[in-house]
């Protein structure tokens, strides 16, 4: 279920995920990692994908990039990037997009960085499509971007190898590589999880600045609610492979309507004003994706569960102008 469709030209959304379902083949049976997921990233905005373990947020990122593992298959839905359907594209067509108009930054910068190649060379490699630029121009472009992300003395550092940099620097380099070709969409999958909190703040600021400067849209994936609040305009909440709520950042943080979102916010110790020795939790565990329960995916742990929840999967009900929640409670309110 998508947010109310925009009436502007289709390219107003740089990314449109509609009803996407992803299934993994495992020795124990099929795992439905994503079920009927719809997300829109309007051009120039930062959309936050928040979810805990098993939510499927990384799977979604990899699906968009076409980087899922061999045993994964998209069983239904569509992925439109700048109006163009990605599913069904030939590998070379997808490759043409990646790194150029669509790029990704990972939790571990070493996922993007080749350990045996100097970073300068790697930044030149990315520019392979630019036939009009000379080598010197490409090198200068790379050095400029490195300087922009906060690598001091970039001309000299370009000859260095990834292991010669600290973790924070490596992530900056990975981001530099990700935005070098001014992509329309940057997917950042937990880019700061492995970093100290002071470095994290720097990287978040960097992403903010880059987005402003290059008007890059960002799909920001994290389990950290604080970061989502810091950076994002729109928030999508994922639970066990489904979108349970989405809306503007203020909708989600100030007016959460889905019990999972509400509980998640209550559990964040940073949000609890008074000092409490006992911390709140959500009892139970994420459902086993091999055996998805019937009805609402959150029913087993929901404090407001009632009979209908266990039998019938809720639809996406509107909770505001751009705010949707997949919960029967909103239906009750609507009917009642």
């Amino acid at each position: 279920m998508a947010l109310p469709a925009s009436s502007i030209a289709p390219a107003a959304n740089v990314l449109e995920v509609q009803g996407l379902s992803v299934r993994f083949r495992t020795p124990r049976g099929p795992v439905l990692a994503l079920r009927n997921v719809s997300v829109e990233v309007p051009r120039g905005s930062v959309v936050g994908l928040v979810g805990e373990s098993g939510s499927g947020k990384s799977t979604l990122a990899l699906a968009v990039m076409g980087l899922m593992s061999g045993n994964a298959s998209i069983t239904e839905g569509s992925l439109r990037f700048a109006g163009r359907e990605l599913l069904g594209l030939k590998p070379h067509e997808l490759r043409a997009l990646r790194g150029d108009r669509l790029s990704m930054v990972f939790q571990d910068p070493m996922t993007s960085l080749n350990p045996v190649r100097a970073i300068g060379l790697q930044m030149l490699d990315i520019q392979y499509r630019e036939r009009s630029l000379s080598l010197a121009e490409k090198r200068r472009k790379a050095a400029d971007m490195l300087r922009r992300v906060g690598i001091p003395d970039p001309e000299r550092q370009m000859g260095r190898y990834p292991h010669e940099f600290s973790g924070g620097m490596r992530q900056r380099i990975a981001i530099a590589m990700g935005v070098l070709e001014r992509p329309e969409l940057l997917i950042a999958d937990e880019p700061t999880t492995a970093l100290d909190v002071t470095l994290e703040a720097q990287i978040i600021q960097l992403l903010r600045d880059l987005r402003r400067e290059f008007n890059t849209s960002i799909l920001f994936i994290s389990h950290n609610l604080g970061l989502i609040a810091e950076l994002c305009d729109i928030v999508v909440v994922l639970y066990a492979g489904e979108v349970v709520e989405q809306g503007t950042v203020r909708d989600i943080f100030h007016r959460p309507r889905h019990p999972y979102t509400q509980a998640l916010l209550e559990c964040d110790p940073a949000r609890i004003a008074e000092v409490h020795r006992e911390l709140p939790t959500i009892t139970g565990d994420v459902p086993n994706l091999l055996r998805i329960p019937t009805g609402c995916v959150f029913a087993a742990r929901c404090p407001s569960v009632f009979d209908r929840c266990r039998v019938e999967q809720p639809a996406d009900y509107p909770a505001g102008p751009a705010h949707l929640a997949r919960c029967h409670l909103l239906a009750e309110r609507r009917d009642g």
């Binding site: 559990c267 939790t281 009892t283 139970g284 565990d285 994420v286 459902p287 086993n288």
Partner: protein, 313 residues
């Protein structure tokens, strides 16, 4: 919303119980035809090594010169079983002294596995002990042992074998001694590296924090976790050892006659290759099959062992 632990954890089975180690291996092998073939061959060889001599139609040593150079049954099917163009009474024919080649090959299986398997096993035990000590003990001991291992390791195998066999005189114990000396460094190094890697892992740190003695840590915690790949490597070394024996025997320095090791059969077969070409084939095929079998199985197991761990974790 405080936690109620017991109820919270009971209903959800996040990761269902995994089947036993051996069962899962056999199950996975099903999808790997080469590995299955390897398993089949290895099992056959082991069984033959055990029961071989008892099912042999003749004694491998019984000389019957009038019956020398009788071609194998296969040719008899074409040429008639008259003893010159094949015989039905000797499956692999007879050699230059009228001995039944098939029986000799069976006896050779026992020698091959006994000598090969036995010496590898000894090398395993010694290498394991030294490797554990090198990996876990003080740096100087590690340096010393590694120096020792590397020195032996860099010696060309065959020359070492030839030298020792010449000096000590060829015999089964000498051959096994050669194998042990050659193989121990390789296993020692493998175990030492694995021990070093495991030594700093978190669970070892945790056991140390409980106050455990180093001996217990080595035997109960490190050893079980690193020994798996060693078995695989060792099983793939068995054919090499058998081949080494064959080579040495061929050169006259292996197991002395009349022991019908495959090397001996090959050597005698080569000498009579114009009169009885089937002897070389009969001696060579088991060697090839055994090598292939152990290699297929070993590689298959090795592929299984790695992704298995990854998939589980």
């Amino acid at each position: 919303m405080s936690a109620q632990p017991s109820e919270a954890l009971a209903p959800v089975e996040l990761i269902p119980e995994a089947p036993g180690f051996l069962i899962s291996i056999v199950r996975r092998l099903r999808g790997d035809p080469l590995g299955l073939l390897g398993l089949l061959i290895v099992l056959t060889v082991i069984v033959l090594a055990i029961i071989g001599p008892s099912i042999a139609p003749y004694s491998p040593f019984k000389i019957k010169v009038p019956e020398r150079f009788m071609p194998p049954t296969l040719l008899a099917l074409v040429g008639g079983g008259d003893g010159v163009h094949g015989t039905f009474s000797h499956v692999f024919g007879t050699d230059n002294l009228g001995r039944d080649v098939f029986s000799r090959v069976l006896a050779g299986t026992q020698i091959a596995l006994g000598v090969g398997g036995g010496s590898i096993a000894i090398a395993l035990v010694i290498g394991l002990m030294l490797g554990l000590i090198a990996g876990y003990g003080p740096r100087w001991l590690d340096n010393f042992l590694m120096l020792l291992f590397d020195s032996i390791y860099s010696f060309p195998t065959v020359i070492l074998g030839l030298t020792v066999m010449t000096l000590l005189g060829p015999s089964i114990p000498t051959l096994m001694f050669v194998v042990v000396v050659i193989q121990t460094p390789a296993y020692g190094r493998l175990i030492r590296t694995a021990t070093l890697a495991t030594k700093s892992s978190e669970y070892i740190l945790a056991i140390r924090s409980l106050g455990s003695s180093p001996g217990r840590i080595l035997l109960v915690h490190i050893l079980p976790n690193i020994i798996g790949p060693l078995f695989i490597v060792a099983s793939m070394d068995i054919p090499s050892v058998i081949a080494l024996e064959a080579g040495l025997t061929y050169l006259g320095l292996g197991i002395p006659p009349p022991a019908p090791s495959w090397g001996r059969i090959l050597q005698e077969g080569f000498e009579s290759i114009r009169d009885a070409p089937w002897i070389v084939v009969a001696g060579g095929i088991p060697l090839i099959l055994t090598t292939l079998g152990f290699t297929f199985l070993g590689e298959s197991l090795r592929d299984l062992l790695d992704p298995k761990l990854r998939r589980i974790v």
